[in-house]
Symmetry: C2
Subunit: 444 residues, 2 copies
């Protein structure tokens, strides 16, 4: 009997862990159990399947169970791990396909059970016509629902809510976005939210902010959202008010959670139990600016977690140092990228923070397709230490955020940014890159 790695959850963190472990140590027996019907898929692409820009759910799959099998990794979709006996190193698996339960042993265990959408405690959410978007099954159900739908309401104006608002508009629906806080994308500063709001309006999305859903009306099938500001008729409702880590299994077996409520891990993705690792949306990362655990449930982080766990299990040296909180998304023609701390967040964390927010262009003023690019920098007064930033504009131009992310990792300052030798040619940048203009303005 060889050494056996069992991975619970096969989407991003789990699939990465399994593949990496097997690649680095082919002697390992690697088994993946995935509760849903799909493994190794790009959940971040779901909004674009809804919009029709990506032709099918299948297109999101990175690696099929057959491909895993060829690589020596056994993958079982529709298999739910319902219990783990850590002392005996066994787990109990329920096969949804076969309707039976069986036992399995493990030497190493990776918990990659992901996260689930928050269901707000609003009367009527259990009705037909009310959806979340997380799994491929969610995507399939929404695709089906879109066929007859005319008016959609979306609860929550974070990434998912905004991306799906675009998708629904592209499908011809009337869309109302309902956000409890005072602006869309409330996790970032108001200037960026204002740009997002403008882009939503330009594309016919109605945006209600500072509004709470009181009930979903309907007689078994949703008909409207009753809110503090009035009634929004809707035959389709998407709940996009956040996600929570799926920690039930971890807690039941004695795996410790961290302060964020996700599984606490070290740099090697080890939990408090020897031989047990966590990866992906169920696990914490370390925030390199805040110097404490942070929960950043994003696909790229999940893959890094998984790769690290897989390498460590295979006996290789590997560490995942942490995150600075970089994210990017698109809403219609606008790319929105952020990293580090917003000004609001930095202030609430006790930093003596300031910000600049500038509008520049993403290419030379005479370049035919030049478009506006906005840059926000958040930095510490006095030292000039960079704390965060945002880049908003068209397409890949917003990937400039990665320069700020790199400086955050390196504890760089506004002065460092100002001195950077960035690439210039008319199709790619104004002669002063917008990042440099922002840095100059911050330095004053």
């Amino acid at each position: 009997m060889g050494t056996r790695l069992v991975v619970v959850g096969g989407v991003a963190g789990g699939a990465s862990a399994a593949a990496k472990a097997k690649r680095e140590n082919p002697e390992l027996e690697v088994v993946v159990y995935e509760k849903s019907g799909w493994v190794s898929f790009g959940a971040c692409g779901l909004p674009y399947v809804l919009s029709g820009e990506i032709p099918s759910l299948e297109a999101l799959v990175a690696r099929t169970p057959e491909a895993f099998r060829k690589g020596g990794v056994l993958v079982y979709p529709r298999h739910e791990v319902v219990d783990v006996d850590y002392a005996l190193r066994t787990l109990t698996v329920y096969s949804h396909g076969e309707g039976r339960t069986f036992q399995e042993r493990f030497d190493h265990l990776v918990l990659a059970t992901g996260a689930r959408p928050v269901i707000p405690p609003v009367p009527g959410v259990e009705q037909e016509g009310v959806y979340t978007l997380r799994s491929m099954e969610d995507g399939a159900a929404l695709l089906e629902a879109l066929k007859g739908a005319k008016r959609a309401a979306i609860l929550g104006a974070g990434y998912i809510g905004l991306e799906v608002a675009e998708a629904f508009r592209k499908r011809g629906l009337e869309v109302t976005l309902l956000e409890a806080q005072d602006r869309p994308l409330p996790q970032w500063d108001p200037e960026v939210s204002a740009l997002v709001r403008e882009e939503l309006s330009r594309h016919g999305v109605e945006v209600w902010t500072g509004v709470r859903a009181l009930a979903l009306r309907g007689a078994g099938r949703v008909e409207a959202v009753e809110t503090t500001e009035g009634v929004v008729p809707a035959d389709l409702v998407l709940l996009a008010v956040g996600v929570r880590p799926n920690t039930a299994l971890a807690q039941a077996m004695g795996v410790a959670l961290g302060p964020t409520g996700a599984i606490a891990t070290d740099e090697r993705m080890r939990t408090n139990l020897e031989g047990v690792y966590a990866a992906g949306d169920v696990a914490e990362s370390r925030h390199l600016l805040l110097g404490r655990p942070y929960w950043l449930p994003l696909g790229d982080v999940a893959n890094k977690h998984g790769r690290t766990a897989g390498a460590v299990i295979a006996g290789k040296e590997a560490r995942f140092a942490g995150v600075v909180g970089t994210a990017v998304f698109k809403v219609f023609g606008l790319g929105v990228a952020t990293t580090g701390l917003s000004l609001e967040r930095a202030l609430s964390e006790g930093f003596r923070a300031k910000k600049v927010f500038i509008r520049a262009e993403d290419s030379a003023h005479y370049w035919p397709e030049h478009a506006p690019l906005w840059v926000e920098l958040v930095y510490e007064e006095g030292t000039g230490r960079l704390l965060g930033g945002a880049v908003v504009g068209r397409g890949q131009a917003v990937k400039r955020i990665d320069v700020l992310a790199a400086l955050l990792h390196q504890k760089g300052t506004v002065e460092d940014l100002m001195g950077l030798d960035l690439a210039y040619a008319p199709p790619f940048s104004p002669v002063w890159d917008p990042l440099l203009i922002a840095a100059q303005q911050a330095r004053g």
Copy 2:
């Protein structure tokens, strides 16, 4: 009589120095003399005027003499500074418009005399139909020449040669590119050149490498280029084999040149003569990796020089720390960005250098418009210190080079790169950013 700043040359470095000095110290008298008929224009846009993508030369102008005047800066085009008496702090100016010479005094002087194209010592280069592309006048002459031209030969496959090859093709010309070295873009490593060569071929540019021009045939008007490999018929020839700094005036007045042949400056753009500064393509920068003076005649560097000189003259604290040698250009649909040292260069500088070169995608595999993105990393064996890199691909996706530039400034390693929290969403990146994939591969 107030304190007077005279700026010699008003394109990029000179225009920046004048504007910045006046803005920071409105008491200064600021005068700019520019030999050509144009000031403050984006010379990097000239190829796109030739191609017709930018409608006119005028579109390249950032600030007109009138706009400068409103800001309190006096700008004189077609005024050539022919002599400087440093001891007396006077200069002699020849007005091409008025055909007269006059004296002018200065307290501060900025030398921003730029660079000029190298004219190769080939018989027949003095004929009609033979051009360079540097000034707006060059651009106007080429625009005129394009009207009747059918077959162009371009000597030199550096940035300018490649950009103009594209422009000429867009104007319907047959184009042959002649390069003495063994590949187009010979200043970078062969893998990148191979991509450039492929893109040129795909768009019908004939590329001859390892070939030297022996003579330009013709009886007063060029008809063909005679080369070591055969004869290339051409009714239009562009000389694009490099540039040299215009240091004659500086040398005549006793300003010291550096080892590169351009004017030696310190971090404040001061020359060896008190009160005399240099900025733009006539001046050296410091190369932060090589730790010695380096000549990087690019528009963005010129602007930084000028801004620094202007601020220092106005009494502000300002420094230009130096460059890492970042550059980007476009040839047809391919963006090519490089920074730091190529492998060849790093080895010749004595580094124990290695490289990786990978092909990835610029967005998620399922994103409809995903396109290939190539990344090269050059790094030091053992320490993993990053020494340089290249990013080749479509559009703004190649601005990822700036992340490598930032790490070069911060003396980062491949390991640092691998740990970066870069932005991910399907339209902007695969879940593993190509930079991270390259770093993983380099780390092995």
